[in-house]
């Protein structure tokens, strides 16, 4: 096998060298990381093999707690996928130029998260062998069907957004990278679909990206609102709320922003992109995270204050259990450690530096994950009619190792997809938009 160490590769500019370097050299660290992820995936696969063989009995889910961490994990993945639209649409349409370099990674995370969400929902099915019944026997009034439709729509749009953002650079990779294996050359040739910075192509790309930027926004809002309706269309305490849609959407943007900050941190250190992902980016992301967290805090207050004030029946039992009962430690960790403290801490300029903000963001992400646990599980444990006359194991929910293994491996999948995509494609636009158009103008003048 030929070794590719980058000695032969020549770059025209410093920028190209910095941004394309990781595409041609593979570090040992990268290989170890991939191996580690594959190991976790294999472990999860074993758990899933056991689940296929024995049924969902291997999980801790039972007749009352009939949805568990698979569903909360699904909601989490859907939530972080919203970050794609935050960058490709909201920040772009508001002309936040600073956020431009983060668009691609946000779209990569969105695509990876949506794929993982779809996979984890199949894992949760009692009969995954009947997955296509969802199409064969489709009944449009079921919120699950709405979710299937909107998730596939969002996946397609996110994929297109990722593709059009990376397209000019794919052509650059095709033209410029010589010292790469044949399959990679073919990959860039095919994916670049004859892109050659032609003014016509440029105009079309700009148009398409504007159309997609506008159209992804309602879809992104819909995807998480509909996911909230999976809960809000039932009578469960904590779910039976008209607040649930905006509550989910705002929480999703907060979690997504935190995920981007962590991704930025690792890209900056591992890919040596300090000149491209600057401290100013972290500072701005920190401010954005505070804003998004404040919005989420507002919906949190809305979600809990009413029921906690009234304390009606099972709704009151549910609130008691969250505030002072069995789930209180988790609840207060989530609300304080994952929401209120980050808001306070990130108002300090020094804590918006790369390392502290990455740590704070990890807490936000952990809080977001456990928040979804708290949304899904305790609600199911407070039905209207008392839980009696069933096996003792039906009263509690402590996820089994199979569930944790599968959940961890879903995260490994997410990170694997993200890592591989970052490894294969330039993560920061190599050609700045204005440069491309300048070149195109020169080209016309030459002709």
């Amino acid at each position: 096998m030929r070794k590719y160490n980058g000695n032969l590769q020549k770059f025209e500019t410093r920028r190209e060298k910095d941004l394309l370097g990781h595409l041609i050299t593979t570090s040992l660290k990268y290989k170890v990381w991939i191996a580690f992820l594959l190991l976790i995936i294999a472990f999860g696969m074993f758990g899933y093999y056991r689940q296929i063989k024995y049924g969902l009995i291997v999980t801790a889910m039972r007749d009352y707690t009939s949805w568990g961490i698979y569903i909360s994990n699904f909601v989490f993945f859907v939530a972080i996928s919203l970050v794609g639209s935050l960058f490709s649409s909201i920040l772009k349409l508001n002309k936040n130029e600073w956020a431009r370099p983060l668009t691609r990674v946000s779209e990569i995370i969105a695509v990876a998260a949506i794929i993982c969400a779809a996979v984890i929902i199949i894992v949760d099915m009692g009969r995954p062998d009947r997955f296509f019944y969802v199409i064969k026997y489709l009944r449009i009034q079921s919120p699950i069907i709405w979710d299937v439709i909107i998730i596939s729509t969002y996946l397609v749009i996110s994929f297109l957004l990722l593709f059009i953002s990376v397209l000019p650079d794919l052509a650059l990779c095709r033209d410029r990278l010589i010292e790469i294996p044949k399959w990679k050359k073919r990959l860039y040739r095919i994916t670049a679909i004859n892109w050659n910075n032609d003014p016509k192509q440029m105009a079309m790309l700009k148009k398409v990206s504007t159309i997609l930027a506008i159209s992804v926004l309602p879809v992104a809002f819909a995807i998480h609102t509909i996911t909230s309706w999976l809960f809000a269309t039932t009578w469960r305490p904590g779910w039976d709320s008209t607040n649930l849609g905006p509550y989910f959407v705002s929480g999703a943007f907060m979690a997504g922003a935190a995920v981007i900050i962590v991704a930025m941190y690792f890209m900056r250190t591992e890919l040596k992109l300090k000149a491209y992902i600057t401290e100013s980016h972290f500072d701005k992301m920190g401010k954005l995270l505070v804003l998004l967290s404040l919005v989420y805090l507002y919906f949190n207050i809305n979600e809990y204050l009413g029921p906690a004030f009234k304390m009606v029946g099972v709704e009151g039992e549910h609130i008691t259990e969250l505030f002072v009962g069995k789930y209180a430690p988790m609840y207060w960790f989530v609300q304080l450690g994952g929401l209120i403290l980050p808001i306070i801490l990130l108002t300090f300029k020094n804590l918006r530096k790369p390392i502290p903000i990455a740590i704070i963001s990890i807490f936000v992400i952990l809080g977001a994950w456990f928040k979804r646990f708290l949304i899904v599980i305790p609600s199911l444990q407070h039905p209207y009619l008392p839980i009696q006359g069933v096996d003792e194991s039906y009263l509690h929910y402590n996820p089994t190792w199979e569930e944790w293994a599968i959940t961890l491996s879903s995260f490994a999948w997410l990170l694997l997809i993200i890592t591989v995509l970052i490894k294969l494609f330039p993560i920061i636009p190599v050609q700045k938009a204005e440069n491309i158009s300048k070149k195109a103008v020169e080209k016309i003048l030459q002709q």
């Binding site: 049924g55 969902l56 009578w235 209207y384």
Partner: protein, 302 residues
């Protein structure tokens, strides 16, 4: 009778012929004479095959045959001209749990996850506790049916809500949607699955792994003009069952007018405010026939 070894081929083929309906005309009488309430015996019945032979078949197998009569497609229609309704008299229930036992037996359930639950209820601290037998309420506005993505659970013309285990994808949305926790899930392989019986949503057996189950009002019995097992098994006549169109219900001992019963005894439906329109009514636990006893005593007595 659970894990039976396969029967000799000839007899099984004969049973399959029967199920296709060819010999039912001849054997109809014999089939109806067997009640599946009776414990299965080794008694045999002589039947005539299509090619004119007389064959002796154990009654237990005929019982199984009765079970496989209605296909999933047919089971979606409902019994014509009927609107089934149930009335549970809370004043009479003393937690004898016979309904639970017989239901578990006929639906092949384990005691830890029954279709029927007898709940110990107490409306407030001052009022006395009472027993509340709870089945599926077969709502006329069923939340479970609304949320099912594949139509695996459906409302029939006779008012019954059934589940097709051969279509259910196991998403458990219906379980989250049911405000009465009526639904159970086959988390693992259901016990004692006798693969010889063809599945029917009307019997809910043999239930399938990874799918949902619940009380089904025993449509297989209703088709034979018999009462659901829980009604006939109750020693205290707690459960009345009947047809809303005929306006009559019976607990097996007395037959009464539904409208009169509900009027005289202030019949109500559990959590009317949810708008689910249950088909199960309750009569309030007033003038109770039995003093309230705790679960252990109730069990040992029965």
């Amino acid at each position: 009778m659970g894990n039976k070894k396969p029967q000799p081929a000839s007899r099984r083929e004969f049973l399959k012929n029967l199920s296709s309906g060819s010999a039912l005309a001849v054997s109809g009488m014999a089939l109806y004479s067997v009640s599946s309430c009776k414990p299965s015996s080794e008694e045999k019945t002589t039947l005539l095959t299509t090619d004119g032979k007389l064959v002796e078949v154990p009654n237990s197998e005929i019982e199984m045959l009765e079970m496989q009569s209605v296909s999933p497609e047919e089971s979606r229609k409902g019994i014509p001209g009927k609107k089934f309704v149930m009335v549970v008299d809370l004043a009479k229930c003393k937690n004898a749990r016979k309904c639970v036992e017989v239901c578990d037996k006929h639906h092949n359930l384990t005691p830890d996850r029954p279709y029927i639950k007898v709940l110990e209820m107490r409306d407030n601290e001052k009022s006395a506790p009472y027993w509340m037998p709870k089945k599926c309420f077969q709502c006329d506005n069923p939340p479970c049916v609304k949320v099912c993505p594949v139509g695996a659970t459906y409302k029939r013309t006779d008012g019954i809500v059934l589940i097709d285990n051969e279509r259910c994808i196991g998403c458990r949305f219906c379980m989250a949607a049911c405000p009465y926790s009526s639904r159970v899930f086959n988390w693992g392989q259901p016990p004692n699955v006798d693969q010889e019986i063809a599945y029917s949503p009307e019997t809910s057996v043999p239930s399938k792994i990874g799918t949902v189950g619940k009380c089904d009002f025993c449509p297989d019995m209703l088709r034979k003009d018999k009462l659901p097992h829980c009604v006939t098994s109750c020693p205290n006549g707690v459960i009345y069952f009947g047809d809303e169109i005929e306006d009559t219900v019976t607990n097996g001992e007395e037959t009464v007018r539904l409208s009169t019963l509900l009027k005289d005894k202030a019949g109500y439906r559990y959590m009317e405010e949810l708008g689910t329109k249950p088909r199960v009514y309750y009569l309030p636990p007033v003038n109770r026939m039995f003093p309230f006893e705790n679960e252990v005593q109730g069990n040992s007595e029965s």
